[in-house]
């Protein structure tokens, strides 16, 4: 007999199941699509565990909790502790100075080629030594296996919190259709370029088309990601591919000869402050709003949900009785449910 039912086997639901199981509870995990795959936005992620870089735009709470992600993932999957590199092309050097002012945990790099021999030495760069990355598809497959070893299997089936008795964790992302939650479209491409070698994620600052490149095994690179305020679920647009590829080409012209393996587009579920939260509504805990920080923030969200359920401790990501979205800093006004 399960202690709690988790709906949604994306990165949030899987992390919650793992954390609860480790805390001695028996979770039941249901997803309408069964095992993780291309139907979920976790599939399309970059897999950067880069809390310090994200701090350039994200709230400080992301920098703080994101630092726990690498240790969580290290228990179940291979985490590459190689840091990350942030570059700017000659014309955009000012962007790098700005990024340096707005982030911590970095050091300037005088010779980029010493870190990444394939990159031209003249690039201005910052090195974030404490950051890490993983292969997201491998990570959720490994986490699914780790859960199976603990006796937690993913059941395929339709489920809503109302139809289930007892405590529920709702981790359905966009499908949960919660007040204040919106979709932010992201588009990515996957390339194979056997002659280019990178050992860590590289971010290229650009005033209009910022880009990150995450190396994966076998000469494969993930290029991402656009960020469009739209719930459009179409496939990748030609514009997105053009922008991503042309910035990659500016970084290294050999990307022009790369084999285009895959393109992907999906929606990131986000609250108005782009910070994830555990919303407690009676016996249901909604884990949602991971935005572009699924792999980075799901472990912290799972830990706080678990603490709340087992000890009643209310972490800073937990919001009780929040059927309305509320801005913790009081910048905006309370926001009720909106149709559509």
């Amino acid at each position: 007999m399960a202690d709690i039912t988790i709906i949604g086997a994306g990165v949030a639901g899987l992390c919650a199941a793992y954390a609860l199981s480790k805390a001695g509870l028996t979770p039941r995990l249901i997803d309408r699509n069964g095992a993780p795959g291309a139907h979920g936005c976790s599939w399309w992620a970059g897999g950067m565990l880069a809390p310090f870089c994200e701090g350039a735009l994200a709230e400080p709470v992301i920098v703080e909790h994101g630092q726990t992600a690498a240790a969580f993932w290290g228990e179940v999957t291979k985490v590459m502790h190689r840091g990350s590199l942030v570059l700017a092309l000659q014309r955009d050097k000012g962007e790098l100075a700005c990024f340096a002012r707005r982030t911590t945990g970095h050091a300037p790099v005088s010779d980029v080629s010493a870190l990444e021999p394939d990159l031209a030495a003249h690039h201005s760069a910052l090195f974030f030594a404490q950051e890490a990355h993983l292969d997201p598809r491998q990570a959720i497959a490994d986490l699914t296996r780790a859960l199976a070893a603990r006796g937690v299997m993913i059941e395929q089936g339709e489920a809503t919190p109302d139809a289930i008795d007892g405590p529920v964790i709702d981790a359905r992302g966009m499908a949960a259709n919660l007040p204040g939650l919106r979709g932010v479209r992201g588009e990515m491409v996957v390339l194979r370029a056997r002659d280019i070698r990178l050992s860590r994620p590289v971010r290229l600052l650009h005033p209009r088309h910022p880009l990150y490149i995450v190396p994966r095994a076998g000469g494969v690179f993930m290029l991402g990601a656009t960020q469009v305020e739209s719930a459009d679920r179409r496939g990748v647009t030609a514009r997105a591919v053009l922008e991503l590829l042309s910035v990659a080409y500016a970084l290294d012209p050999r990307f022009a000869e790369a084999e285009l393996l895959e393109t992907g587009a999906d929606l990131r579920a986000a609250y108005p402050d782009n910070v994830p939260r555990v919303s407690v509504r009676g016996r249901v805990l909604h884990l949602n709003g991971l935005f572009r920080h699924g792999y980075l923030m799901a472990p912290a969200l799972a830990a706080q949900a678990t603490d709340y359920l087992t000890t009643g401790a209310k972490g800073d990501l937990v919001h009780e009785d929040s059927c309305e979205w509320r801005d913790p800093r009081g910048l905006g006004h309370d926001r009720g449910h909106r149709a559509g």
């Binding site: 735009l57 994200a58 709230e59 700005c98 002012r101 707005r102 919106r182 979709g183 479209r185 005033p207 209009r208 469009v228 305020e229 739209s230 719930a231 459009d232 679920r233 179409r234 647009t237 514009r239 986000a270 108005p272 402050d273 782009n274 910070v275 801005d327 800093r329 910048l331 905006g332 006004h333 926001r335 909106r338 559509g340």
Partner: protein
């Protein structure tokens, strides 16, 4: 302040809605800026931006949809028509981009689209250069407002051609004009207001500041100061380096 198609604004600040760290920060910036107008783009959202457009609508300010990202008159006209349906306004900030990198306006496409949209009942705010001849043509085509650039979009350079802008202001004293694009600092906005422009429109300078809410407040103070200074009739600068009464001056020294 001159009225924009019959609407007198409470504040000479128009603020864009792109590139903020989050909608919560956007909302905070709007409150701090006391901006009277929010510009919003439709081109890229592909008709599914409803959740975000609702956030803009909830700001409670005038919405000025734009045709950002359109590279031809035809594309801009289609986007304007869609904007009219989504936001139920005849206002349209018309951008026809002539160069993908500098995003400078295409004067020929701009004129063509202004003509077509004005004839179709739109109230056009054309994003243009400071060129006086083009301005006259845009007014002939039916525009009753002009939006000359300060500098290229997103550059933060300020008023790149003060003389040209001053000439434009003087050439059309009755036309409401908004300095649009290129402002990076509150002092740039104050400068534009002191020169007698009716409003300024900016986005990147606030959205990409380290603290967008604080920068929005700074711009609100700057446009207020600039407008007040213009209304107070500033003194003319004097060139003390060319003394007109040197003999008289010397007699007492």
């Amino acid at each position: 302040m001159r009225a924009f198609y019959g609407i007198t604004l409470d504040s000479p600040l128009m603020l864009g809605t792109a590139q903020y760290p989050s909608p919560a920060v956007l909302e905070g910036a709007f409150r701090a800026s006391r901006a009277a107008v929010a510009t919003v783009s439709l081109r890229r959202e592909g008709g599914a931006g409803q959740a975000f457009w609702d956030i803009i609508r909830d700001l409670g300010v005038h919405v000025l949809p734009n045709t950002a990202g359109c590279h031809s008159a035809r594309e801009a006209i289609t986007t304007a028509q869609m904007a009219r349906e989504v936001f139920e306004t005849n206002w349209i900030k018309l951008e026809v981009i002539g160069h993908a990198d500098t995003l400078q306006p295409d004067p020929f496409g701009l004129l063509e689209a202004t003509q077509a949209l004005a004839a179709d009942g739109f109230e056009v705010f054309p994003y243009t250069t400071e060129d006086q001849v083009l301005a006259a043509r845009l007014l002939d085509a039916g525009a009753k407002v002009l939006m000359p650039w300060g500098a290229p979009i997103g550059s933060g350079l300020g008023l790149n051609n003060r003389y040209g802008l001053k000439t434009l202001r003087a050439a059309f004293p009755d036309v409401p004009m908004v300095i649009d694009a290129g402002l990076g600092l509150p002092s740039h906005a104050a400068d534009a207001m002191e020169m007698g422009f009716d409003a300024v429109l900016l986005n990147t300078a606030v959205a990409q500041a380290g603290d967008p809410v604080a920068m929005a407040r700074a711009f609100a103070m700057a446009v207020g100061a600039g407008a007040l200074a213009h209304a107070a009739d500033p003194m003319e600068p004097r060139d003390m380096a060319a003394p007109s009464t040197p003999v008289l001056g010397k007699a007492w020294l």
